[in-house]
Amino acid sequence: MKKAFPILAILTAGLLSYALYEALVVAPTEQTMGDVQRIFYYHVPSAWTAFLLFTINFVASVIYLIRRSPRADAVAVVTAEVGVVFCTVVLVTGPLWARPVWGIWWTWDVRLTSTLVLWLIYVSYIMLRRFSTSGQTPVLAAALAVFGALDVPLVYFSIWYFRTQHPQPVIGGGGSIDPRMMHVLLINWLAFSCFAFLICWSRYRLERLRRDVEEMQSLESLLEPRSAR
């Protein structure tokens, strides 16, 4: 498995470079927005990847609550953290698109507000994991993740069911897109999904190492009084 990582990393770097070329050069220029519309090729795949990671976090949290599997708990931690990174990209690129197109950086409509709430829920999840010293932290975090995941469909479907300033969905829900744009969008999503998988892989190794260190520290603290005698 260790040998596969550099090969996958090279392939992902190639795919990301190709996706960037497609987004900046190959994709047709949108008539009303111009080049700024190309932000869409980073904004939307980042949002889809964040949703995917939060969904995996939800599944892993449910598995942890049922089976108390440490591996499921580690997967939950990893996907929450990487999901927050991708959600941060969404919250940064969105206003950078909105400013030239809407004339404002931000508006408190359902899609934008629910995305910000989603980000805050998972940031609080990470804070809980990082700063709580209770032995029940993984259970509390899993419960928070299960309730937090309810916001994912709310964010996704908010533009279907509420009147919002955000553009309509490009797949279903009344929106439409040029097939060449859709092709570039899907390539970028594939590239960002592969990239997310690699980051999760690295972060999972870090999580396992962190648990090994914690285990050794607790063993050492048990042995210390004996050696001190």
Binding site: T93, W97, R203, L206, V213, M216
Partner: protein, 39 residues
């Protein structure tokens, strides 16, 4: 065009900063594990 470049640059700055934090934490924990094994 400036907004487009700003968005793409911000995306990669966020990802690279996060990757750097993962590498940094990994190095620190590896060192700590080696210290614990050495005791």
């Amino acid at each position: 065009m400036n907004f487009l470049y700003a968005a793409y640059a911000a995306t990669w700055i966020i990802h690279i900063a996060y990757l750097a934090s993962v590498v940094n934490r990994y190095g620190r924990l590896k060192k700590e594990l080696n210290n614990l094994k050495g005791k």
